[in-house]
Subunit: 885 residues, 2 copies
């Protein structure tokens, strides 16, 4: 196998399929050259094989020979020679890994210039346009020495910059581009002195040496600190290696018949089927990107260079036909000739992604199928379409937390739930800022437009509740030191009432008001999702986690096919209900307890009626009470302080006693879930009774309630059998349940339940995987403690691939799910299986759940569109994989 | 297959091997009758097959015929007839399951008596002894009606008792046995009236009906509430069923030439090879048990009935030869003839068990092999031998908690660690009473003779620490409401200074001083353990969990072959160290942190030297710091109260800040173990450095340190690799480690680590299973919260088979261990595997660990003898099982 391939090498397969070997950039260059026959400056690609070989055992044997052969070919093609003092061939050396790693690796331009060839270049340039080319030549050489010195020879950039400043002073000018040719010529020597002094070696005059040095530097840069960190973040394997592209230089900055630009085959912002681009006359690519000069549009290009403009549009057309997608290109015009330097399928906004995908199904050149359109849109972009965002522009980010619930919000900082509720009552927009939130803060969270916490992870109370409501939230921003009426970040103090902005999509926290744009989902949103539904229906269902009638309605509007998790605890947190719940918990006699339970039953029934009505005809999974009872009692800290001051009332004293009694060292592993049912046997019976009464009422009103009663935190079959018997007794006690579809199942959220799913399935009609808790217990990671404190460190140090609370850890948590599915289906082949953890809304996890054989996923209402699209993609991916086999 | 077998049925195998079919009692009766030819009243056994058939589908077809056939055989043998008015045959009906369930199921005696046969019995009895037999006959019949009414016909016993009282009043006598024959005769009618009135049916006069009714009642009693609860507790399967034994009645209460007794072939209390028994003239078995009359000894028997005495001794000899063990018997003498009613291998004290096992290897009649002796002694009895016990006698148990650390202790109740230390300083014996203990209480725990808590389970701080020191402890006694200087149980208040007694072997708490006996282990203790060691050596090692030089020495004296877990955190809890540790945690600069770490290194090194010296030449597994840092800070509650009162000092204020910073919602799943190392990178380096310096010092002193550095709470390979690199750097920094044997491994204590053991094994030299935490995470059971609150309820309701913190849950936690062993050995075939959780000292768990292929178990020092014996038994059991295959 050769180690080097010319761009026009005749590969057996399309170059785009050889990204492993050629890297992304190299594959695209070869595709443009050999398949599309576009005007690409000739060159060759040194394969990733060579890089891997280099990393293993140094400079590959035979590589020098192959490079030399390719250089001779270029010389012949261009009629120039590397190192020719009269008319030198100049080349660029660029990295190009399989996956794009923008800015992470090195590039060296203008290779081939030295003390002799620089004059040749000057002469060549002068010759053609009639102007003096020496300034251009000297500047190009100056750039090579500087770039080469830094990148290849490890010289610090600072002395070069100082010399450039001195040169400007000397000439009395402001910008680099205004330095005179003469001064530049003198700089060349000084720059070479810097290289010699700092590196101990002279700047290599031999262009072959230059070339080899640059290639080696690119190889080395693969293992640079920045590149490694980037790969870790993006989950790119370390052993892929990079390819290196050597290409003949073209110059957009030769004269006014030259120029450079970037072009898109359609508008990447709006998705409109209209070419879009930025262009600069007499400039280099970096000038376009740097934004120093105001760029011109494609219309300007048409005006100045009409022939080139139509040539470019023809190329755009060819690219779209070929790639069957919007392409992003870089082009250069050198003295009236168009060169294509790069192309690739381009990035786009969420709106544009939707619009393009749908449009291209109607485009007769592209003929995208609906399946292809569905497969093409990243489900996460739907979030952009559904939630407001910070408007583009600059602002100082005060702190960064976890992006817990997407969307941007602006409001006055408020430090307690009561204050937030009061301010909202006065019509103010507030952001609730708390160390962490608890059920006691719910009224303040409702009142706020956004939520910001300094502790807790992506499945903390604040995050879960905010996501459920589609309300922006940033959590675990641990740079914030939050006091009772202000917070501090470093030396910045933010007082109550100060305006702040948060972006729950990025985790940014900003002091002051940032402009926010909110977009209406385009029509294509619905179209694409309807196609997605057609693909996934009957294969993977999508439900929502919703606790109230309002949430259930929202979820249904977003396309949820039922409720996968209705948490009944939230029903006890209203201002009118909490006291009753507390009475139940603190009851000193059975009578007191029974009376409180009766009262709770009444309110809970009404809540259930609303939820069942909103989801009529669709299944509703109701989870019986799960959280530890102390969550319904006030926090002890405040009461202890009151007690110390002697201010405790009788009621509060009882509350403190109760809180102490129910306080647990590790509530996550404590008296919760079905264990509560064991400790307070009337509780679950009450809940099931209320639920059945609600269902019977719905039947009388002509409804079709479909109810799945879910027991939380089961670890043994016997627990599940006991809980099932409570539920069955309560159902029997509720009277005739004709017209109610009913089943009884459990959450699988402990490793033991997963491992012993065979036994549990004997007494459960369905399983719902509670992958949040399963992840916590499998890792021994408390979401409240570890996620904000440890996870950033763990990701940074590469101790973990990714946050397992965002994307399911297939290596262990996933193994447990697979084991459970196998055991469960073995014991009860028709068992219904779903997932209601946060992972139910994560595309990669959804793909896993589909492969694992689950029947549905369930996620927060605002995440339902994402899940619908991701589910369809999982179905498509799996089908195409099995087709390949 | 027949459903009924006569005691003299010729089975193909020894009846003792047919307990499944005949039940324990039936098998023993058949063994005595058909093999040993002892004088057993004839009878037959209705098999467990019949009972199971009955439970499935009612009274078995053909059973009546088989019973009738056997009854005819008995009639022929005895020369009496069932229901014969002149000389009736009387039989007893007794249950007899495979496993003994004392008192749990029903018995009916004197079947065959009715209004006619009662006179026949009276006549027969009178005839033989020359006295009037009518009183005996009436009383027997009265007992039958009463027993049959209650057991078979479901009549409440109370009316019978009332009538008996009336009869005594009538006759003016005090005891049942003094009621006159005439009054008894009149009672017979009244008793039958009660039966008719209460059950709606007459007492059956037909003996065949009586017999069938009694047999059916025994079948039914298998599923009685008491029996079911007992089986659950004892882990006996519900589907075994019971056998029923029908046997000819013999009467020890006929006259003064009759009697009854229980006999042991050796002394069950001391183990001395000397028959032992209790005997009563003219009495029934229940009189001996009830203890109403003072029993006589076997010497008295020899005096009164010399022939019978020697006959009995000859039988004892036969029994020991046959059963090759000490037997426990019931016998009856009826009018000068000896009958053996029952025999079985007898229960014995710990001392006796040891003594008998060793003695019997020297007994030429029994020829027990050493292996048999080792297999025979229940390892748990060694605890009795090693720890003081409450002396037999009566005392009122105030409360019961979990038996956390064996042994009995008596002392004054003390409610704070400081008070306990002060009182101990004055020479008082105190018991420390706390809601729960924390590292701050350690000085008080050291000072106390025993520890009592109202919260926490068997692996709570109090339990683990106490066991480590061999100090008696009762934990989780949740009936105790503990205040600041008293506790309350119901209406009883125990003030500071009141004397209390606790028994950590039974969990009993007693108000006042109970006599305590402490025994020295007999010589046989050492002998038996040396035999055990010979069996298990090279197959399953036994190490100890020990944190100090003193503990290590104790452990070595008890036969530990190394330390499986040296917890380094306890080294930071001394009065001189805690402040330094706190300085390290609260450090505001790197310098402060480094300085504190340096100071800790010095003290830690000295500690390590002591431990290594005590275990010289044996491996010492040192676990780097594991618990969450807040455990080293004071509890916030007290500081918050101080703050509210305005009493907080500057130091305390810093402490409160630190405590709040490190406070976690679920510390068990929080920043602990290797995560601490990630957050405080200098910490582990310091510990390893100290350890290596200690090892080097030991080498200089001529020692042979063998060190295993253990990283706690690993969940990914990358974590382990990082921690390993810290350790290796610190080792390199410590200088030459020549002469130190070193390895680096990890605890496997999260489900993820178990599932991903293949990856972790790539960078770990050994695994030690931390089955406490693994159990907590697999079940989602916090040891601190759930064990005392939920476990008793869970066991009672049968929601769980047994406390998984005592005996490993093979169904899920065990599955994870097996998976890990497989994965770990696949990746690193020579990986060393051990267990250091509390299960390492539990015999049944040890058997599992041996089968799982572990190299050693590790447990608290005082538990080492138990583990040595259990390990040998595991080896034997496994060998005998594979031989059978």
């Amino acid at each position: 196998m050769p180690l080097v391939y010319a761009f026009d090498h005749k590969h057996r397969r399309a170059p785009m399929e050889l990204k492993d070997l050629l890297g992304g950039k190299g594959a695209n260059l070869a595709e443009m050259t050999s398949v599309l026959k576009l005007p690409v400056p000739p060159g060759f690609t040194i394969s990733t094989d060579a890089c891997r070989e280099y990393m293993r055992s140094g400079w590959p044997k035979g590589l020098d020979g192959e490079i030399a052969k390719q250089v001779r070919k270029l010389e012949k093609e261009m009629g120039k020679k590397l190192g020719d003092a009269g008319d030198p061939l100049l080349v660029s050396v660029r990295s190009g890994a399989k996956f794009s790693m923008p800015g992470m690796m090195d590039t060296v331009l203008n290779i081939g210039l030295n003390d002799e060839t620089v004059d040749g270049l000057a002469k060549q340039t002068s010759g053609k346009s009639g102007e003096d080319g020496s300034r251009f030549a000297y500047d190009s050489y100056r750039r090579l020495i500087q770039m080469y010195g830094r990148i290849v020879m490890g010289v610090d950039g600072e002395p070069f910059d100082r010399l450039l400043d001195t040169a400007k002073d000397w000439d009395g000018v402001e910008s680099d581009s205004a330095i005179s040719a003469e001064t530049l010529r003198r700089l060349l020597g000084r720059f070479q002195d810097v290289v010699r002094k700092e590196s101990g070696r002279p700047f290599p005059q031999d262009p072959e040496d230059q070339l080899r040095g640059a290639i080696e530097a690119v190889f080395r840069s693969w293992n640079g600190a920045r590149a490694k960190a980037y790969r870790r973040r993006e989950n790119i394997a370390d052993d892929l290696g990079t390819a290196v592209n050597v290409q003949v230089m073209v110059f957009g900055n030769r004269d006014d018949s030259s120029g450079t630009g970037v072009g898109f085959t359609r508008d990447p912002a709006t998705g409109e089927a209209q070419p879009y681009g930025d262009f600069l006359v007499n400039a280099q690519g970096e000038d376009v990107v740097a934004g120093i000069r105001n760029t011109e549009t494609l219309e300007d290009l048409a005006r100045r260079f009409p022939k080139i403009h139509s040539e470019l549009l023809a190329i755009f057309d060819r690219l779209e036909r070929h790639y069957r997608d919007m392409c992003d290109t870089e082009f250069t015009i050198e003295q009236g000739k168009l060169w294509m330097l790069q192309t690739r399928v381009g990035k786009r906004t969420g709106v544009a992604a939707l619009r393009m995908a749908v449009d291209m199904t109607k485009d007769r050149r592209i003929k995208l199928s609906r399946e292809e359109a569905v497969a093409r849109v990243d489900p996460n972009v739907l979030d952009q379409v559904l939630h407001p965002q910070f408007a583009p522009g600059s602002f100082d980010v005060l702190a960064k937390g976890l992006a817990a619930s997407p969307g941007a919000a602006v409001g006055a900082a408020c430090f307690s739930a009561d204050a937030a509720a009061a301010a909202a009552g006065r019509g103010e927009r507030v952001i609730l800022v708390r160390t962490e939130t608890s059920p006691e803060d719910v009224h303040g969270m409702i009142a706020a437009v956004g939520i910001l916490t300094s502790r807790g992870g992506l499945v903390s109370h604040a995050a879960v509740v905010a996501r459920g409501w589609g309300k922006p939230a940033v959590v675990g921003a641990d740079a914030l030191a939050i006091g009772s009426d202000s917070f501090k970040v470093g030396s910045t103090v933010v007082e109550a009432g100060d305006m702040i902005s948060i972006d729950g999509t990025t985790g940014q926290v900003v002091l002051g008001e940032v402009d926010v744009i909110s977009t209406e989902p385009p029509n294509e949103f619905k179209t694409l999702l309807s196609w997605a539904d057609a693909i996934r229906k009957g294969k993977l269902g999508v439900r929502a986690n919703a606790d109230t009638g309002v949430d259930a309605k929202t979820a249904r509007d977003f396309g949820a096919e039922g409720i996968g998790l209705c948490r009944t605890e939230h029903m006890f947190l209203g201002e009118d209900r909490l006291p009753v719940m507390r009475r139940m918990i603190l009851a000193r006699s059975e009578n007191e307890e029974t009376a409180a339970l009766e009262e709770l039953r009444r309110v809970q029934k009404a809540d259930f009626v609303e939820v069942l009505e909103a989801m009529d005809g669709l299944p509703v999974t109701v989870r019986l009470l799960d959280p530890p009872l102390h969550e319904f009692l006030p926090r002890t800290e405040e009461l202890i302080a009151k007690e110390a001051r002697g201010d405790l009332t009788g009621d509060e004293s009882a509350m403190l006693g109760g809180a102490r009694l129910w306080e647990e060292a590790n509530p996550m592993l404590g008296t919760r879930g079905v264990r509560l049912g064991v400790v307070k046997p009337g509780l679950y019976a009450m809940q099931v009774r209320a639920l059945m009464e609600a269902a019977i009422e719905r039947v009388k009103a002509g409804g079709k309630p479909i109810i799945e009663i879910m027991i939380p935190l089961t670890v043994t079959r016997e627990e599940m059998a006991l809980a099932r018997s409570w539920a069955e007794d309560a159902i029997a006690a509720a009277g005739s349940t004709k017209g109610v579809k009913l089943s009884i199942g459990t959450m699988i959220e402990t490793p033991r339940a997963a491992i012993r799913s065979d036994e549990i399935a004997e007494v459960a009609d369905f399983f719902s995987y509670g992958t949040n808790d399963l992840t916590q217990m499998t890792f021994g990671f408390s979401r409240d403690d570890v996620e904000s404190r440890m996870m950033p460190l763990y990701l940074e140090k590469g101790l973990i691939d990714r946050n397992p609370f965002e994307t399911i850890d297939q290596k262990a948590v996933g193994e447990l799910v697979l084991e459970s599915v196998m055991q469960g289906r073995k014991a009860r082949p028709d068992i219904k299986l779903g997932v209601c953890g946060e992972h139910g809304g994560d595309p990669e996890s959804i793909d896993f759940f589909y492969k694992a054989g689950l029947d549905y996923v369930s996620c927060s209402p605002f995440r339902v569109p994402v899940a619908r699209l991701a589910a369809a993609q999982a179905v498509l991916a799996s089908a195409s994989k099995s087709k390949k086999k």
